[in-house]
Amino acid sequence: MALSEPNVEPKVTAQSAAAPQREVMYRHTVAVRLTHWINALVLVLLLISGLRLFNYHPALYWGNYGYQGVPSFFSIMALEDIETDEPVGVTSIMGHNFITTGVLGVAYDAQGEPVTGAFPAWLILPGGLALARDVHFAAAWLLVLNGLIYLLFGLFTGHFRRDLLPAGGELHLRHMLADIWHHMRLRRARGAAARRYNLLQKLAYAIVVFGLLPVMVLTGLTMSPAVTAAMPFLFDMFGGRQSARTIHFLVANLLVLFVIVHIIQVVVTGAFNNMRSMITGRYTILPEDKK
């Protein structure tokens, strides 16, 4: 069962032949479901430990070097208001400063006391730098190993070709516009359309799987002095060591954005059905609307 083809044998629940039918199809193979949940856990660990690491030097630069004193195009600071002696959180983007007290730079603890730190403590991994490094690197290994299993599976079972590769007709402008319109109305797919990922879904997943996650791994490796000793071309690929760190941070933000949209979509298109399909593999197809 592990590697059986999805979509091949939709189980039809017995109903009278004339009535519109609710079908239950086998949507996600066990390999997809397992790697999905491992990935979900690992991404959470990577995010909270990564933000903890960022807090030790909350500034982003371009090029090979960057340290306190080098102009940064993004930084989060805690300054002191000399009139009130209260700390003020300041986020600086491309030279524009924003007061972000309460969220970035300075947050409030349970007692309402201000605590300085780029990202607030409630959002990030507790503990210090050593633990954050250990968690980040262990989780990164899980991400890579889990990702390799997923990639091998996707290649050899046809998951990528069948489920992620856009079909010929899908790339026509008319179809794409219809798909976008459908998304904007937050309508749940029914009938035949619900059997497959639609175009925007395919593109989103493909960009994450083949674009964002590999970039995260490679920019992460570019920060390693040992790895770049063996693979110095990584510096050239990303424009330098600090550039790689910056890209790592920005792409992490894109992944967070993807996850937010992903969760919204899961909820609006049937939270129970979607969750069940990613846990048990079984997915209910609603009948077509009567016109």
């Binding site: 070097y65 340290y67 004193g69 633990l131 002095p225 000793a229």
Partner: protein, 258 residues
């Protein structure tokens, strides 16, 4: 900008690393220790994957003078406390001796001039701090491999330990001095040098005068400053906390290639 340095966190002299490096929040030792096998497994994979990748002992990228960063922030100790170091400073390290002992056939005691008369290597490399910043500087020094060859390393030796002059935490048994260690794989690398020069001048006090380690394929805390003694050994358990370094004894990883 509110950048936390390790130096400012050590003030309390507390023992647990998790407590050291975070101002207010800490997770209980029980939680962390139950995760330890998984975390160490990640570390195990990193060490062995990187050693495989580096089997041919490639050099890290070296830069041109034009690529150097305008400044190079010192990290950790910027001037060791105590009269012993102060006397070295005012005498310009005239009485300084580098001791090389442990598992060597010919223990050495070298003056700075004797070290400067040895074969030297100058390299412009990137320094990577585990906090996330990086800087590019020029280093001049003697290859560690040359020192170890001169002292005639015994075949049992596996690690090279660097004992430093900066005392990070005051303890009755003097175990709070900075120290670091690397294995022979890194010790014998051509770019692993004991530097006495930086950016064309004598190594400044803030950067570890008179001698500091450059071990280019690892992050900043491995680059021991104020090195006064090099000990060849077959194990690390007999020194201070037994984990191979001041920060390692406080929860940091011994291998820091990333």
């Amino acid at each position: 900008m509110n950048l936390i340095t390790r130096r400012s966190l050590i003030v309390g002299g507390s023992a647990a690393a998790a407590t050291l490096a975070s101002g207010c929040d800490q997770i209980s030792d029980v939680n962390v220790e139950s995760l330890r096998p998984i975390l160490d497994f990640g570390q195990f994979l990193s060490l062995h994957a990187q050693r495989l990748l580096l089997a041919g002992q490639p050099l890290v990228r070296e830069y041109e003078e034009a690529d150097m960063s305008p400044d190079f922030p010192p990290n950790g100790t910027e001037r060791p406390n105590g009269m012993a170091y102060f006397r070295h400073m005012i005498s310009n390290f005239a009485d300084f001796r580098l001791i090389i002992d442990g598992m060597v056939k010919m223990p050495l005691s070298l003056t700075l001039d004797e070290i400067k008369a040895m074969p030297l290597r100058t390299q412009i490399t990137m320094h990577n701090c585990d906090e996330g910043w990086s800087a590019i500087g020029q280093w001049t020094g003697v290859p560690l491999a040359h020192l170890l060859k001169t002292a005639q390393l015994m075949p049992e030796a596996r690690y090279i330990v660097f004992h430093c002059m900066d005392e990070m935490v005051r303890t009755p048994d003097n175990s709070g001095f900075y120290y670091e260690s690397i294995d022979l794989f890194d010790a014998m690398h051509p770019q692993t040098i004991l530097a006495y020069g930086m950016n064309g001048k004598a190594l400044p006090v803030a950067h570890g005068a008179p001698l500091r380690l450059r071990v280019e394929r690892q992050v900043g805390y491995k680059h021991a400053k104020y090195v006064t003694r090099i000990e060849a050994t077959d194990r690390l358990t007999h020194i201070a906390g037994g984990r191979g370094g001041f920060w390692e004894d406080r929860g940091y990883q011994w291998y820091a290639g990333l």
